[in-house]
């Protein structure tokens, strides 16, 4: 369920980075206030545990397929929400850096979807009330299955929203939701069952661990509510308002430049233009391969033209396309040789 850089816009990615960074520093402050310094190595080792456990395949009975554990709820149960959130964030960072799961820009989105939602929403509002202060095996089972499934549902819905606000994928909202939610409901239920199996095992074999974890982590309900309100508002502002702004001005950077210049394009003076066209006549080794004339006779057919942005696009111009393809090939060759040249230069 990792979001990838290729599918998000900088506005959504940056907004979620800000949200995730504030959450991480909040959680770090909370963890620092915790007197239990034994948790320092425990968090590290449990992070590694969840990371490695995610690679183990568990066969789903009756089907040929297999699934793996999620980790958010399990870590919250063992460490409390703040430390669990930090641990998940560290797992996602290592995954983004070493395995390019997600990406650097999408890291904020991923920390929010897979860290914040299970640790700060599903755990305190679903798992805790369902299991109560003295959990029985049955309650643990229901609590962890529902919490894991709900956490993943929220996460996958958040993926849908982030992708939609980015506007890179063409999938319409309803289709995307219908694709994502049922798949992740199945995955979530499965993750919940494995989580429950592990917690039940720990309950049976080493109940002290869970008791200590529950005692050392009083969850300040007031603080949590404040954080929730702040971050949901933040997410809506960045996701909603900024994306709307970004999509109405599809090219933010060009827009800002045209604002600062006051013109759409920088116009060259005649002499400079003259010089370059003369220079160009000398350099162009493929003259006459310009399809501009042909393109004007073949009028472009735009199938959908609902908004002004879409009527402005696409400017079908085969001349530009040919030039683009030629130029791209030359650029690729150039990029390769410059790279190789750098290697030679570095050896000296």
């Amino acid at each position: 369920m990792h979001m990838a850089d290729a599918l998000i816009s900088p506005v959504v990615g940056g907004g979620m980075w800000v949200a995730a960074a504030s959450l991480v520093s909040y959680a770090a402050k909370k963890v620092q206030q915790d007197i239990d310094e034994q948790k320092v190595p425990l968090m590290g080792v449990l992070g590694a545990f969840v990371f490695a456990a995610q690679m183990i395949n568990f066969t789903i009975p009756g089907t040929g397929s297999s699934g793996h554990i999620g980790g958010g709820i399990l870590l919250s149960v063992l460490l409390g929400p703040h430390a669990a959130f930090l641990t998940i964030a560290s797992i996602l960072t290592v995954q983004a850096l070493f395995f390019a799961d997600g990406g650097l820009l999408a890291l904020g989105c991923n920390i929010f979807n897979m860290g914040f939602l299970p640790c700060y929403i599903a755990y305190p509002f679903i798992y805790k009330p369902l299991t109560g202060p003295a959990p029985s095996p049955g309650r643990i089972m229901t609590g962890s299955i529902i919490a894991a499934a709900a956490g993943l549902q929220l996460g996958s819905f958040s993926v849908v929203m982030e992708t939609l606000f980015s506007g890179i994928s063409e999938l319409p909202f309803s289709t995307f939701v219908l694709l994502m939610q049922p798949i992740h409901l199945a995955i979530g239920l499965f993750e919940g069952i494995i989580t429950a199996a592990v917690i039940a095992f720990i309950c049976r074999e080493a109940p002290d661990i869970l008791k200590n974890a529950a005692l050392s982590q009083p969850l300040g309900s007031l603080a949590i509510r404040k954080v929730l309100v702040i971050f949901l508002t933040l997410a809506f502002i960045t996701g909603g308002a900024l994306s709307w702004f970004a999509s109405s001005n599809p090219d933010g950077l060009e827009w800002s430049i045209s604002k600062t210049n006051g013109e759409e394009e920088l116009t060259a003076t005649d002499e400079i233009h003259e010089f370059f066209s003369q220079l160009q006549e000398k350099v162009s080794f493929l003259p006459g391969y310009n399809f501009k004339q042909a393109a004007t006779t073949n009028q472009p057919v735009t199938e959908r033209s609902n908004s002004p942005a879409e009527t402005a696009w696409p400017a079908v111009d085969t001349g530009t396309s040919t030039a683009g393809i030629t130029g791209s090939l030359v650029t690729l060759v150039l990029a390769y040789f410059i790279g190789k040249g750098l290697q030679v230069a570095a050896k000296r």
Binding site: A28, T87, T326
Partner: protein, 270 residues
């Protein structure tokens, strides 16, 4: 090869690459991190129909791979692992976006295919740049760079400790799963009878390990604080590296270099 095993090997491989001594490796981690982030932002800021404008940016990974002596194959393998999810989401673009983009004789290219191509190039660029960062910098240096940029210290400690024990636990899990598989007749996966006990045993062992680590830390004078070695100095070369790449990225963003080059060569300007 199981996913555990390949992950473990990949980690080892990236660690080895990060320990090399090249021009890129010796740069300040902060400047490399900032450059990579700027690169991701610039790449993703291109419109979804941009294809040609992205090509010049390939110079960045190519230059760093050659200068940093990184294996192309290893990076390409990683890329293939990531591709399915992004491919799944972007393959709908050609089906849903049928607007005409260009006509070459009998062939017509729709906007959907152009945006699909654009996503693919963006994927290649962002994934390789992230892998290059780790393969030329290493986890410890990235953490110090993040600290310098204002990341809270507990987070840095968490990432470093986790990363350290990831190697140990991956090895241990690999042995456990191997032992399970040797004693079971089903070829893949863990049977549901063993779900709780297998993972639970591993969890108990990991917690016991954490306690031993804590005691070892106490023996070595741990007082709740972990000292970090001071950050690498910021030289003129680091500054030049960052500024030159930033200028190049911005140049690529503002001027469609292949388009301009193509026009120059085909005579489209006159």
């Amino acid at each position: 090869m199981s996913k555990l095993e390949s992950t473990w090997l990949d980690l080892r491989c990236l660690d080895d690459l990060a320990n090399q001594q090249t021009v890129v490796h010796s740069l300040n981690p902060c400047s490399k991190l900032l450059t990579t982030l700027a690169f991701s932002v610039i790449v993703t800021s291109f419109s979804k129909y941009e294809v040609t404008g992205l090509f010049p940016l390939l110079l960045y990974p190519i230059a760093l791979i050659t200068l940093g002596k990184l294996p192309y194959l290893q990076l390409a393998k990683r890329l293939l692992f990531i591709a399915p999810f992004v491919g799944f989401l972007s393959i709908f673009n050609p089906l849903l976006d049928q607007s005409l983009f260009a006509v070459f004789g009998p062939f017509s290219i729709t906007g959907g295919w152009i945006s699909f191509l654009s996503i693919t190039i963006k994927l290649v660029l962002t994934v390789t740049s992230a892998l290059i960062l780790i393969a030329t910098t290493g986890m410890n240096s990235i953490c110090t760079a993040l600290l310098q940029l204002g990341m809270p210290k507990p987070v840095a400690i968490q990432i470093l400790l986790m990363y350290r024990y990831l190697h140990v636990l991956l090895e241990e899990f690999l042995r456990t799963v191997q032992a399970y598989q040797l004693r079971s007749f089903t070829a893949k996966g863990i049977h549901y009878h063993a779900w709780g006990s297998l993972l639970g045993q591993l969890l108990l062992r990991s917690i016991a390990r954490a306690q031993r680590i804590y005691q070892a830390m106490l023996c070595r004078g741990f007082n709740g604080q972990i000292p970090f070695h001071s950050a690498a100095s910021w030289n003129k070369s680091d500054q030049a590296y960052l500024l030159l790449w930033l200028a190049f990225f911005l140049g690529c963003r503002l001027v469609n270099i292949p388009q301009a080059l193509g026009k120059l060569l085909t005579g489209g300007l006159s």
